[in-house]
Amino acid sequence: MPNNAPDAEFAAYFAARLPATRRLAYALCGDWHTADDLVQTTFVKLYPHWRKVQDTSIDAYVRRSLVNTFLTHRHRHRREEVVAEVPERPAPEAELHDDLGRALRALPAQQRAVVVLRHLEDLSIAEVAELLQIAEGTVKSQASRGITALRAAMSLQEK
Protein backbone atom coordinates (compact mmCIF):
# COMPACT_ATOMS: atom_id res chain seq x y z
CA MET A 1 0.00 0.00 0.00
CA PRO A 2 1.59 3.26 -1.08
CA ASN A 3 2.40 5.83 1.55
CA ASN A 4 0.62 9.04 0.52
CA ALA A 5 1.90 11.13 3.42
CA PRO A 6 4.72 12.77 1.42
CA ASP A 7 2.30 13.77 -1.33
CA ALA A 8 -0.06 15.24 1.22
CA GLU A 9 2.80 17.18 2.81
CA PHE A 10 3.92 18.37 -0.60
CA ALA A 11 0.38 19.48 -1.43
CA ALA A 12 0.14 21.38 1.84
CA TYR A 13 3.44 23.10 1.24
CA PHE A 14 2.44 23.93 -2.34
CA ALA A 15 -0.81 25.50 -1.20
CA ALA A 16 0.87 27.50 1.53
CA ARG A 17 3.83 28.80 -0.46
CA LEU A 18 2.42 29.21 -3.96
CA PRO A 19 1.34 32.86 -3.59
CA ALA A 20 4.66 34.03 -2.17
CA THR A 21 6.65 32.03 -4.70
CA ARG A 22 4.65 33.51 -7.56
CA ARG A 23 5.24 37.01 -6.19
CA LEU A 24 8.97 36.41 -6.09
CA ALA A 25 8.94 35.02 -9.63
CA TYR A 26 6.93 37.96 -10.93
CA ALA A 27 9.26 40.48 -9.31
CA LEU A 28 12.17 38.75 -11.01
CA CYS A 29 10.78 38.37 -14.52
CA GLY A 30 8.05 41.02 -14.80
CA ASP A 31 5.22 39.06 -16.39
CA TRP A 32 2.82 36.57 -14.86
CA HIS A 33 2.95 34.10 -17.71
CA THR A 34 6.71 33.65 -17.39
CA ALA A 35 6.42 33.77 -13.61
CA ASP A 36 4.04 30.81 -13.67
CA ASP A 37 6.42 28.89 -15.95
CA LEU A 38 9.26 29.54 -13.50
CA VAL A 39 7.18 28.56 -10.47
CA GLN A 40 5.83 25.42 -12.06
CA THR A 41 9.34 24.35 -13.07
CA THR A 42 10.54 25.03 -9.54
CA PHE A 43 7.87 22.90 -7.88
CA VAL A 44 8.30 20.13 -10.47
CA LYS A 45 12.01 20.07 -9.61
CA LEU A 46 11.18 20.06 -5.91
CA TYR A 47 8.80 17.11 -6.06
CA PRO A 48 11.35 14.31 -6.65
CA HIS A 49 13.53 15.69 -3.85
CA TRP A 50 10.71 16.25 -1.39
CA ARG A 51 11.69 13.44 0.98
CA LYS A 52 15.33 14.53 1.06
CA VAL A 53 14.81 18.21 1.66
CA GLN A 54 14.82 19.04 5.34
CA ASP A 55 11.83 20.95 6.63
CA THR A 56 13.88 23.91 7.73
CA SER A 57 15.52 24.39 4.33
CA ILE A 58 12.60 23.90 1.97
CA ASP A 59 12.00 27.62 1.54
CA ALA A 60 15.68 28.22 0.86
CA TYR A 61 15.74 25.30 -1.57
CA VAL A 62 12.72 26.68 -3.44
CA ARG A 63 14.15 30.20 -3.59
CA ARG A 64 17.49 28.95 -4.87
CA SER A 65 15.83 26.75 -7.47
CA LEU A 66 13.54 29.57 -8.60
CA VAL A 67 16.34 32.13 -8.94
CA ASN A 68 18.56 29.66 -10.80
CA THR A 69 15.68 28.81 -13.12
CA PHE A 70 15.11 32.53 -13.69
CA LEU A 71 18.77 33.24 -14.49
CA THR A 72 18.91 30.29 -16.87
CA HIS A 73 15.63 31.27 -18.45
CA ARG A 74 16.89 34.82 -18.98
CA HIS A 75 19.87 33.50 -20.80
CA ARG A 76 18.00 31.09 -23.04
CA HIS A 77 15.21 33.48 -23.90
CA ARG A 78 17.06 36.74 -24.18
CA ARG A 79 15.89 37.28 -27.74
CA GLU A 80 12.28 36.47 -26.94
CA GLU A 81 11.36 39.05 -24.37
CA VAL A 82 7.79 40.22 -24.40
CA VAL A 83 7.40 43.96 -24.54
CA ALA A 84 3.92 45.13 -23.65
CA GLU A 85 2.47 48.00 -25.59
CA VAL A 86 2.39 51.21 -23.64
CA PRO A 87 -1.16 52.47 -23.21
CA GLU A 88 -1.78 56.02 -24.34
CA ARG A 89 -3.30 57.15 -21.06
CA PRO A 90 -2.43 54.85 -18.19
CA ALA A 91 -4.29 54.99 -14.91
CA PRO A 92 -2.23 56.38 -12.00
CA GLU A 93 -1.94 52.97 -10.30
CA ALA A 94 -0.93 51.38 -13.56
CA GLU A 95 1.63 54.13 -14.07
CA LEU A 96 3.33 53.41 -10.76
CA HIS A 97 3.15 49.71 -11.46
CA ASP A 98 4.69 50.12 -14.91
CA ASP A 99 7.38 52.49 -13.66
CA LEU A 100 8.59 50.06 -11.03
CA GLY A 101 8.42 47.19 -13.50
CA ARG A 102 10.48 49.12 -16.03
CA ALA A 103 12.97 50.16 -13.39
CA LEU A 104 13.35 46.57 -12.21
CA ARG A 105 13.76 45.23 -15.72
CA ALA A 106 16.46 47.81 -16.38
CA LEU A 107 18.64 46.14 -13.74
CA PRO A 108 20.98 43.34 -14.78
CA ALA A 109 19.40 39.98 -13.92
CA GLN A 110 21.60 39.15 -10.96
CA GLN A 111 21.38 42.66 -9.53
CA ARG A 112 17.60 42.44 -9.82
CA ALA A 113 17.68 39.11 -7.99
CA VAL A 114 19.72 40.67 -5.19
CA VAL A 115 17.31 43.61 -4.83
CA VAL A 116 14.22 41.41 -4.87
CA LEU A 117 15.62 38.88 -2.41
CA ARG A 118 16.75 41.64 -0.05
CA HIS A 119 13.72 43.90 -0.22
CA LEU A 120 10.78 41.69 -1.16
CA GLU A 121 11.83 38.46 0.52
CA ASP A 122 13.56 40.37 3.31
CA LEU A 123 16.56 38.04 3.34
CA SER A 124 19.77 39.04 5.08
CA ILE A 125 22.96 39.87 3.21
CA ALA A 126 24.40 36.50 4.27
CA GLU A 127 21.32 34.61 3.10
CA VAL A 128 21.35 36.29 -0.30
CA ALA A 129 25.09 35.63 -0.67
CA GLU A 130 24.61 31.97 0.18
CA LEU A 131 21.64 31.63 -2.15
CA LEU A 132 23.37 33.24 -5.13
CA GLN A 133 26.79 31.83 -4.24
CA ILE A 134 28.47 35.19 -4.35
CA ALA A 135 30.43 37.14 -1.76
CA GLU A 136 28.63 39.22 0.84
CA GLY A 137 30.48 42.30 -0.36
CA THR A 138 29.07 41.65 -3.80
CA VAL A 139 25.54 41.43 -2.41
CA LYS A 140 26.01 44.76 -0.65
CA SER A 141 27.38 46.49 -3.70
CA GLN A 142 24.80 45.05 -6.08
CA ALA A 143 21.96 45.87 -3.69
CA SER A 144 23.31 49.39 -3.38
CA ARG A 145 23.60 49.87 -7.12
CA GLY A 146 20.21 48.31 -7.69
CA ILE A 147 18.48 50.49 -5.13
CA THR A 148 20.28 53.58 -6.39
CA ALA A 149 19.07 52.76 -9.90
CA LEU A 150 15.51 52.12 -8.70
CA ARG A 151 15.44 55.37 -6.76
CA ALA A 152 16.82 57.27 -9.74
CA ALA A 153 14.30 55.67 -12.07
CA MET A 154 11.38 56.26 -9.75
CA SER A 155 12.33 59.89 -9.11
CA LEU A 156 12.67 60.42 -12.87
CA GLN A 157 9.18 59.07 -13.30
CA GLU A 158 7.84 61.32 -10.56
CA LYS A 159 9.16 64.44 -12.28
Binding site: P48, R102, S144, A149
Partner: protein, 273 residues
Protein backbone atom coordinates in the same frame (compact mmCIF):
# COMPACT_ATOMS: atom_id res chain seq x y z
CA UNK B 1 12.66 56.59 -1.46
CA UNK B 2 13.41 54.77 1.77
CA UNK B 3 14.06 51.05 2.03
CA UNK B 4 10.60 50.54 3.54
CA UNK B 5 9.04 52.39 0.61
CA UNK B 6 10.84 50.10 -1.78
CA UNK B 7 9.59 47.06 0.09
CA UNK B 8 6.04 48.40 0.06
CA UNK B 9 6.31 49.28 -3.64
CA UNK B 10 7.53 45.76 -4.41
CA UNK B 11 4.70 44.22 -2.40
CA UNK B 12 2.15 46.36 -4.23
CA UNK B 13 3.79 45.63 -7.56
CA UNK B 14 3.44 41.88 -7.00
CA UNK B 15 0.03 41.87 -5.35
CA UNK B 16 -2.37 41.72 -8.29
CA UNK B 17 -1.70 38.13 -9.28
CA UNK B 18 -4.07 36.47 -11.72
CA UNK B 19 -5.12 32.87 -11.00
CA UNK B 20 -2.19 30.50 -11.50
CA UNK B 21 -1.84 28.95 -14.94
CA UNK B 22 -1.16 25.47 -13.54
CA UNK B 23 -2.49 23.14 -10.87
CA UNK B 24 -1.05 20.98 -8.13
CA UNK B 25 -2.05 17.87 -10.10
CA UNK B 26 0.01 19.02 -13.08
CA UNK B 27 2.99 19.73 -10.89
CA UNK B 28 2.82 16.30 -9.22
CA UNK B 29 2.33 14.49 -12.51
CA UNK B 30 5.35 16.23 -14.05
CA UNK B 31 7.29 15.73 -10.84
CA UNK B 32 6.66 11.98 -10.89
CA UNK B 33 7.67 11.83 -14.53
CA UNK B 34 10.83 13.72 -13.73
CA UNK B 35 11.64 11.35 -10.86
CA UNK B 36 11.12 8.31 -13.08
CA UNK B 37 13.27 9.81 -15.83
CA UNK B 38 16.02 10.58 -13.38
CA UNK B 39 16.01 7.05 -11.99
CA UNK B 40 16.16 5.56 -15.46
CA UNK B 41 18.99 7.84 -16.41
CA UNK B 42 20.88 6.96 -13.27
CA UNK B 43 20.35 3.26 -13.84
CA UNK B 44 21.66 3.57 -17.34
CA UNK B 45 24.70 5.34 -16.09
CA UNK B 46 24.14 8.32 -18.29
CA UNK B 47 24.15 10.77 -15.46
CA UNK B 48 27.25 11.41 -13.46
CA UNK B 49 27.51 13.28 -10.26
CA UNK B 50 28.77 16.76 -10.78
CA UNK B 51 31.87 17.36 -8.72
CA UNK B 52 32.74 20.91 -9.05
CA UNK B 53 35.16 23.35 -7.77
CA UNK B 54 34.07 26.76 -8.73
CA UNK B 55 36.03 29.86 -8.70
CA UNK B 56 33.82 31.93 -6.60
CA UNK B 57 33.52 35.29 -7.04
CA UNK B 58 33.98 38.62 -5.82
CA UNK B 59 32.69 40.60 -8.71
CA UNK B 60 34.25 43.42 -9.40
CA UNK B 61 32.15 46.25 -10.11
CA UNK B 62 31.33 45.51 -6.62
CA UNK B 63 32.25 48.02 -4.04
CA UNK B 64 34.61 46.98 -1.29
CA UNK B 65 32.96 46.12 2.00
CA UNK B 66 35.50 48.12 3.93
CA UNK B 67 36.14 51.82 3.61
CA UNK B 68 38.70 52.76 1.01
CA UNK B 69 41.78 54.70 1.98
CA UNK B 70 41.91 58.36 1.23
CA UNK B 71 43.84 59.05 -0.81
CA UNK B 72 44.80 55.56 -1.99
CA UNK B 73 48.46 54.78 -1.85
CA UNK B 74 50.07 54.24 -5.25
CA UNK B 75 50.11 50.58 -6.08
CA UNK B 76 51.50 48.65 -9.01
CA UNK B 77 48.85 47.74 -11.53
CA UNK B 78 48.12 44.14 -12.31
CA UNK B 79 50.76 42.62 -14.50
CA UNK B 80 49.85 41.66 -18.00
CA UNK B 81 50.93 38.07 -18.50
CA UNK B 82 51.27 38.20 -22.24
CA UNK B 83 51.12 36.32 -24.43
CA UNK B 84 47.74 35.17 -23.25
CA UNK B 85 46.12 32.04 -24.59
CA UNK B 86 44.58 32.21 -28.02
CA UNK B 87 42.24 29.82 -29.71
CA UNK B 88 38.87 29.30 -31.23
CA UNK B 89 35.90 30.48 -29.16
CA UNK B 90 33.66 27.70 -27.93
CA UNK B 91 30.19 27.19 -29.38
CA UNK B 92 28.54 27.57 -25.99
CA UNK B 93 27.79 31.28 -25.40
CA UNK B 94 28.61 30.80 -21.72
CA UNK B 95 32.19 29.77 -22.45
CA UNK B 96 34.46 32.81 -22.71
CA UNK B 97 37.14 33.25 -25.32
CA UNK B 98 40.46 31.62 -24.37
CA UNK B 99 42.54 33.74 -22.02
CA UNK B 100 39.62 36.05 -21.36
CA UNK B 101 40.74 37.41 -17.97
CA UNK B 102 44.30 38.01 -19.16
CA UNK B 103 43.07 39.70 -22.31
CA UNK B 104 40.87 42.04 -20.26
CA UNK B 105 43.65 42.76 -17.76
CA UNK B 106 46.22 43.45 -20.47
CA UNK B 107 43.91 45.88 -22.15
CA UNK B 108 42.80 47.74 -19.02
CA UNK B 109 46.25 48.21 -17.44
CA UNK B 110 47.41 49.78 -20.68
CA UNK B 111 44.35 51.78 -21.71
CA UNK B 112 43.05 53.22 -18.43
CA UNK B 113 46.28 54.92 -17.24
CA UNK B 114 46.69 56.40 -20.72
CA UNK B 115 43.45 58.32 -20.17
CA UNK B 116 44.42 59.37 -16.65
CA UNK B 117 48.01 60.59 -16.78
CA UNK B 118 49.39 61.27 -13.33
CA UNK B 119 46.69 59.27 -11.55
CA UNK B 120 47.40 56.58 -9.01
CA UNK B 121 45.43 53.37 -8.81
CA UNK B 122 44.54 51.46 -5.66
CA UNK B 123 42.90 48.10 -5.28
CA UNK B 124 39.14 48.03 -4.84
CA UNK B 125 39.15 44.66 -3.13
CA UNK B 126 42.00 43.23 -1.05
CA UNK B 127 42.26 40.12 -3.21
CA UNK B 128 42.91 41.80 -6.55
CA UNK B 129 45.43 44.24 -7.92
CA UNK B 130 44.05 47.40 -9.49
CA UNK B 131 42.40 46.60 -12.84
CA UNK B 132 43.20 42.89 -12.52
CA UNK B 133 40.37 41.02 -14.23
CA UNK B 134 39.09 37.81 -12.74
CA UNK B 135 36.22 35.39 -13.27
CA UNK B 136 33.65 35.94 -10.53
CA UNK B 137 31.59 33.02 -11.73
CA UNK B 138 32.78 30.19 -13.98
CA UNK B 139 30.31 28.31 -16.13
CA UNK B 140 30.19 24.59 -15.46
CA UNK B 141 28.08 22.65 -18.02
CA UNK B 142 27.34 20.05 -15.34
CA UNK B 143 25.87 22.72 -13.09
CA UNK B 144 24.52 25.05 -15.72
CA UNK B 145 21.64 26.40 -13.67
CA UNK B 146 23.89 27.34 -10.77
CA UNK B 147 26.74 28.82 -12.78
CA UNK B 148 25.02 31.12 -15.25
CA UNK B 149 25.54 33.84 -16.02
CA UNK B 150 29.34 33.63 -15.84
CA UNK B 151 31.27 36.85 -15.72
CA UNK B 152 34.53 38.73 -15.38
CA UNK B 153 35.24 41.81 -13.37
CA UNK B 154 37.96 44.37 -12.69
CA UNK B 155 38.08 47.62 -10.83
CA UNK B 156 40.18 50.26 -9.19
CA UNK B 157 40.05 53.31 -6.97
CA UNK B 158 41.44 56.27 -8.91
CA UNK B 159 43.18 59.22 -7.31
CA UNK B 160 44.43 62.28 -9.16
CA UNK B 161 44.59 66.04 -8.73
CA UNK B 162 40.80 66.20 -8.90
CA UNK B 163 40.25 63.77 -6.03
CA UNK B 164 39.22 60.16 -5.51
CA UNK B 165 36.67 58.05 -7.36
CA UNK B 166 36.18 54.55 -8.71
CA UNK B 167 36.01 52.78 -12.05
CA UNK B 168 34.79 49.22 -12.56
CA UNK B 169 34.47 46.93 -15.55
CA UNK B 170 32.61 43.69 -16.22
CA UNK B 171 31.80 41.29 -19.02
CA UNK B 172 29.21 38.54 -19.19
CA UNK B 173 27.08 36.87 -21.86
CA UNK B 174 24.51 39.31 -23.22
CA UNK B 175 21.29 38.46 -21.43
CA UNK B 176 19.22 41.59 -21.38
CA UNK B 177 17.32 43.30 -24.10
CA UNK B 178 18.42 46.94 -24.07
CA UNK B 179 14.78 47.80 -24.75
CA UNK B 180 14.17 47.07 -21.06
CA UNK B 181 15.81 50.36 -20.31
CA UNK B 182 13.24 52.58 -21.99
CA UNK B 183 12.16 55.40 -19.73
CA UNK B 184 14.85 54.73 -17.17
CA UNK B 185 18.20 54.96 -18.93
CA UNK B 186 19.34 56.83 -21.97
CA UNK B 187 20.04 54.67 -24.98
CA UNK B 188 22.93 55.49 -27.28
CA UNK B 189 24.90 54.01 -30.12
CA UNK B 190 28.52 53.06 -29.41
CA UNK B 191 31.53 53.97 -31.56
CA UNK B 192 31.16 50.78 -33.60
CA UNK B 193 27.38 50.71 -33.75
CA UNK B 194 26.92 48.94 -30.41
CA UNK B 195 23.74 49.44 -28.42
CA UNK B 196 24.60 51.30 -25.24
CA UNK B 197 22.48 52.10 -22.21
CA UNK B 198 23.49 54.69 -19.63
CA UNK B 199 22.01 55.01 -16.18
CA UNK B 200 23.22 58.20 -14.51
CA UNK B 201 22.20 58.67 -10.90
CA UNK B 202 22.99 61.53 -8.56
CA UNK B 203 22.24 61.71 -4.88
CA UNK B 204 21.47 64.72 -2.78
CA UNK B 205 24.91 64.52 -1.18
CA UNK B 206 26.58 64.95 -4.58
CA UNK B 207 27.46 61.31 -5.02
CA UNK B 208 27.22 60.35 -8.68
CA UNK B 209 27.18 56.84 -10.07
CA UNK B 210 27.08 55.94 -13.75
CA UNK B 211 26.31 52.41 -14.93
CA UNK B 212 26.87 51.76 -18.63
CA UNK B 213 26.01 48.56 -20.48
CA UNK B 214 27.36 47.96 -23.96
CA UNK B 215 26.01 45.14 -26.10
CA UNK B 216 28.80 43.96 -28.35
CA UNK B 217 28.23 40.66 -30.12
CA UNK B 218 27.45 38.04 -27.51
CA UNK B 219 28.89 40.11 -24.66
CA UNK B 220 27.29 42.55 -22.28
CA UNK B 221 30.13 44.84 -21.31
CA UNK B 222 29.62 46.75 -18.10
CA UNK B 223 31.49 49.86 -17.07
CA UNK B 224 30.77 51.92 -14.02
CA UNK B 225 32.28 55.01 -12.48
CA UNK B 226 31.62 57.06 -9.39
CA UNK B 227 32.92 60.22 -7.82
CA UNK B 228 33.17 58.77 -4.34
CA UNK B 229 34.33 55.99 -2.09
CA UNK B 230 32.66 54.26 0.86
CA UNK B 231 32.64 56.70 3.75
CA UNK B 232 32.21 54.45 6.73
CA UNK B 233 31.32 50.90 7.48
CA UNK B 234 27.54 50.87 7.94
CA UNK B 235 26.59 50.53 11.56
CA UNK B 236 24.29 47.70 10.61
CA UNK B 237 26.49 45.31 8.62
CA UNK B 238 23.41 43.53 7.28
CA UNK B 239 22.18 46.66 5.59
CA UNK B 240 22.84 47.28 1.92
CA UNK B 241 24.97 50.25 1.04
CA UNK B 242 23.10 53.28 -0.19
CA UNK B 243 24.31 56.54 -1.65
CA UNK B 244 24.43 57.98 1.84
CA UNK B 245 27.21 55.53 2.68
CA UNK B 246 29.55 57.05 0.13
CA UNK B 247 31.72 60.09 0.58
CA UNK B 248 32.10 62.35 -2.40
CA UNK B 249 35.78 62.28 -3.31
CA UNK B 250 35.82 64.54 -6.32
CA UNK B 251 33.61 66.96 -8.17
CA UNK B 252 32.86 64.58 -11.03
CA UNK B 253 33.65 61.15 -12.40
CA UNK B 254 37.28 60.20 -13.10
CA UNK B 255 36.36 59.77 -16.79
CA UNK B 256 33.46 61.16 -18.78
CA UNK B 257 30.61 58.95 -19.95
CA UNK B 258 31.85 59.28 -23.53
CA UNK B 259 35.35 58.25 -22.48
CA UNK B 260 34.00 55.26 -20.57
CA UNK B 261 31.98 54.10 -23.58
CA UNK B 262 34.91 54.49 -25.95
CA UNK B 263 37.16 52.71 -23.46
CA UNK B 264 34.88 49.72 -23.00
CA UNK B 265 33.41 49.23 -26.48
CA UNK B 266 36.43 47.38 -27.81
CA UNK B 267 37.10 43.83 -28.96
CA UNK B 268 39.41 43.19 -25.98
CA UNK B 269 36.35 43.42 -23.73
CA UNK B 270 34.26 41.14 -25.93
CA UNK B 271 34.89 38.02 -23.88
CA UNK B 272 31.83 36.05 -25.03
CA UNK B 273 31.21 35.59 -28.74
Amino acid sequence: MADTDIQEALLTYTSDAPPPAFTLDEVMRKGRLRRRTRRLALAAGTVTAAVATIAVAVPLWARPSVPAVDPPAPEPLATCRTPFAKGTPADNPNIPVPGAADMMTCYLVEAVPRLLPGATFARETPERAPLEAFAYRVFDPKRAAETTPPGFSAGTVVSDVNGVGTIGFGASPATTDPGDCTGVCSVRTGPHGERVTVLDSRSDNGYRLVNIRIYKGGTEIFVSASNGVPAVTPTDPDRAYGPEDYRVGRKDLPLTVDQLITLAAVSQMQLFR
